[in-house]
Symmetry: none
Subunit: 201 residues, 4 copies
Amino acid sequence: MKVAPDPSRRSHASRRAILAAALDLVGEVGYTKLSIEGIATAAGVGKQTIYRWWPSKGSLLFDAFLTLAGDEQDGATAGLPDTGDLETDLKLVLRTTVAELNDPRYDLPMRALHTEIVHDPALAADYAKRLDEPMRELKKERLRAAQRAGQLAEDANLDVAVDLLFGPILNRWLQRTGPLTPEYAGQVVETALRGLRPREP
Amino acid sequence: MKVAPDPSRRSHASRRAILAAALDLVGEVGYTKLSIEGIATAAGVGKQTIYRWWPSKGSLLFDAFLTLAGDEQDGATAGLPDTGDLETDLKLVLRTTVAELNDPRYDLPMRALHTEIVHDPALAADYAKRLDEPMRELKKERLRAAQRAGQLAEDANLDVAVDLLFGPILNRWLQRTGPLTPEYAGQVVETALRGLRPREP
Amino acid sequence: MKVAPDPSRRSHASRRAILAAALDLVGEVGYTKLSIEGIATAAGVGKQTIYRWWPSKGSLLFDAFLTLAGDEQDGATAGLPDTGDLETDLKLVLRTTVAELNDPRYDLPMRALHTEIVHDPALAADYAKRLDEPMRELKKERLRAAQRAGQLAEDANLDVAVDLLFGPILNRWLQRTGPLTPEYAGQVVETALRGLRPREP
Amino acid sequence: MKVAPDPSRRSHASRRAILAAALDLVGEVGYTKLSIEGIATAAGVGKQTIYRWWPSKGSLLFDAFLTLAGDEQDGATAGLPDTGDLETDLKLVLRTTVAELNDPRYDLPMRALHTEIVHDPALAADYAKRLDEPMRELKKERLRAAQRAGQLAEDANLDVAVDLLFGPILNRWLQRTGPLTPEYAGQVVETALRGLRPREP
DNA sequence: TAATAATCGAGACGGTACGTCGCGTCTTGCA
DNA sequence: TGCAAGACGCGACGTACCGTCTCGATTATTA
C-alpha cells in the first residue's frame, strides 16, 4: 500500500531547484521535449524526488507557475487598478496580459501548463480553484465597483463579462489565429463595453 | 536522398483506416496515450505508411478531424442560419457549438488537435487558413447581414465580434473553469450583443 | 569523520531480527531479489542498522548462515563419526551433506552465500578461515585416524582427499549437472577410496 | 500477447557487438557491476535489442561464453589427448584447465556465468546439455580408452570419475579455499587414480 | 536520578539500473 | 513502387534499491 510521504522532512532546496529547473527547461526546449528526467538532471536531483512529491508533470508545472506568478506579482492580490474610469483600467489590464503572454519567459511555461490542464480534469479543478477563481474574483470586484459607479449594467453577469474580456485574448494567443497586440486588447475592451448593438437612437 | 512519395499511388484504403483509427484511438485512450505505433496497429498498417504521408501527429489529427467534420456538417459551407433575428441565430449557433464540444465523440479529438495547434505554429497556420478562416468568414458574413439590417453597429470590428462570441465558450470548454451549458451560451450572446454599458438614459 | 560503532550498545533484538529476516527472505524470494531494503523492512529495522554492523550483503548472509548452522549442528564441533570403518563413516557424512543441500531451508541461503563468496575474495578468506578450515580440520582428523588404522595410504595428501570427497557433491549441487542423491554420495566415497586404477593382480 | 521475434531479420553485427561487449565488460567491471545498460552502451546498441533476443543476463553470458569457447578451442571437439598414458594425459588436461581458470580473460566471465547457472535452473539445464555434457562425453571417451587399455577399473562409474577429477579444481577455484596451481592439479589426478586406500600388500 | 551520548526506527535524498514503450529510420519480401 | 511487418538506435518512462544522510524517540551508561 502506497503511503503519502512526510512533508515535514521535505528538502526545500530540492523543491526550489526542481521548480526553477522546470521553468527554465520548458522555456528552453518547449513542452514537447520537456521530460521529468531532464528536469531532475537540471535540478541536480534524483527522479524519485520528483515522483515523490508531484503526482504528474502537470502538477509540477502548476507549482512552478505559482512560484513564477507569486515571485513577481503577488501585489496582484491588491486588486485591479481603479482610476474611476473602467475602460482605461480594463485596457491597462488586458494590455498587461497581452504583454505577459507575448513575453518569452511566460509564453512556453503557460502553454505547457495550459496543455496539462486541458487533458487533466483534476489539475483543471486545482487550477480553477487556486488560480482562476482568485484572479477572477479580483476582476469581478473591479466590475462591481464599476456597477456602483454606474459604468456597468446593474444586471450584467460578471462571470460572463470576465470571460468576454479575457476569452478572446487567451484564444488568439493559444491558437495564433491573429496577431496578439495591445491594439487588439483595446478593441476587445471597447467592443465588449460598448456592446455590439447599434446605439439607441 | 529523400524523394517525395507519389500521391497517385497512395492507398486510399490505408488512408481511411489510419484516419479512422486515429479518431477511434484518441477517443478511447486520450491524447496523452495516443501513439503513432498504436494508430498503425489499430489501422492494420505499417508505421512507414503514416510517416510517409503525414509530417507530424498533429497534421494527422488535423486530417482526421477534417474527415470527422466533413462527414457530418459539410452543409456548414452553406453558411450560418439567418432568420433575420441575429440574437436568435447566434444563440442557435453557439448552443450547437456547445453541444458539439460536450459530445464525447468530438471532445477528445478536438482537445488533441487543439494541443497540437498550441505547440506547433506551422500546424496553427494550417489550421487558421483551412478551418478557422473559412468558418470565421461565414460568421462574419452573418454579422455583415446584421449590420445591413441595422442590428449591429456599423463600425463594429467583426473579427473582434466573432472572438467575443466564441472565445469565452472555447476557453470554458478547454479549461473547465465552469459548466459549459446552453444557458451559458445564451448569456454570452446576450451580453455581447447588449453590451456591458448601462443603457443610454 | 567516521567512527566505529560501539558494539556494547548494540541491540541484540535487532541483530537477531535481521539475521532471521535475511534467512527467511532469501528462502522466499531467492538471492536475486534479496535486498537490504527488504531485509530491513521485514526485520522492522532501519536500513542504517544493517549498514552500521555489516560491511556487505555477503557478510550479513555469512552471519545469518553461521546462526543457522550454529543452531542446529553445533555438535559438529564434536568431530566426524568414527565407527572404525572409514567408508561407512564417510558415506554417512556425505549422505548427510547431500540431505542438507537438498533441504529447502538450506538450499537458497547456501546458494546465496556461495555466490557472495565467489565474487568477494575478502569474504572468501573469511569463509575459508571461519567455516571451511575448522570443518576441514575435523574431516582431516577423521582421515588421520584412518591412516593410523591402516585404512588410508600413509602418504595421501589429506587436503586433496577432502576435496576429492566433497568437491564432486558441491559441484553437482551448484550446477545441477545431475541428480544429487545418497547413491551418488556413496559412489563418490567408494570411487575415491578404492581409486580408479584396476586392482593389483 | 508476446510473440517471438523473427530470427531471420536479426542483425548479426549487433549480436556480435553485444556478445563481445558483454565479455569485455564482465572482465573489466566484474559480475556485480555488469549491467544490461552498460553492455548496450558499450556495444553501441539499444537496450531493446538485447531484451528482444535474450531472456536473461545469464543466457546472454552463456552465449558470450560459447563464443569465447568456440573461437579458441573448437578443436576441443577433437577429443582429449591420448598418448597411451592416462595419468600424463589427465595431468595435461587438468593443468590446462587450471591455467584457463587462472587466466584473467576467463576468470571473471566464468564466475559470472557460474553464478547465473547456480541461480537459474533453466539456464543450468541449458548449460548441462550444451556445454557440460559434450565436454563430459569427451572426457568419458578418454577414460573408456583407458579401461580398454587396462589402466582403469572396468567397473568404474565414469561420470563419478569425471566429477572426482574436475570437481575439486572447480571448487577450489570458486571458493578460493586454497591456491589453484598445476601441482594441485597433479595431486588430484594422482590421488584420484591411485585411490586413497593403501596398496594391497 | 538526571544528564548525556549512542543506537534505533523511519525514511528522504542523489544516484544507477531496471524492463517497457514509443519514436522515427531502415530493410525485407509480398502485391 | 507502395505496402505490412517489424528490427534497429535512441530516449524517456516510472519503479526498485543502493548507500548516505538527517530526524526525533528510545535506551543505557556515566556524572
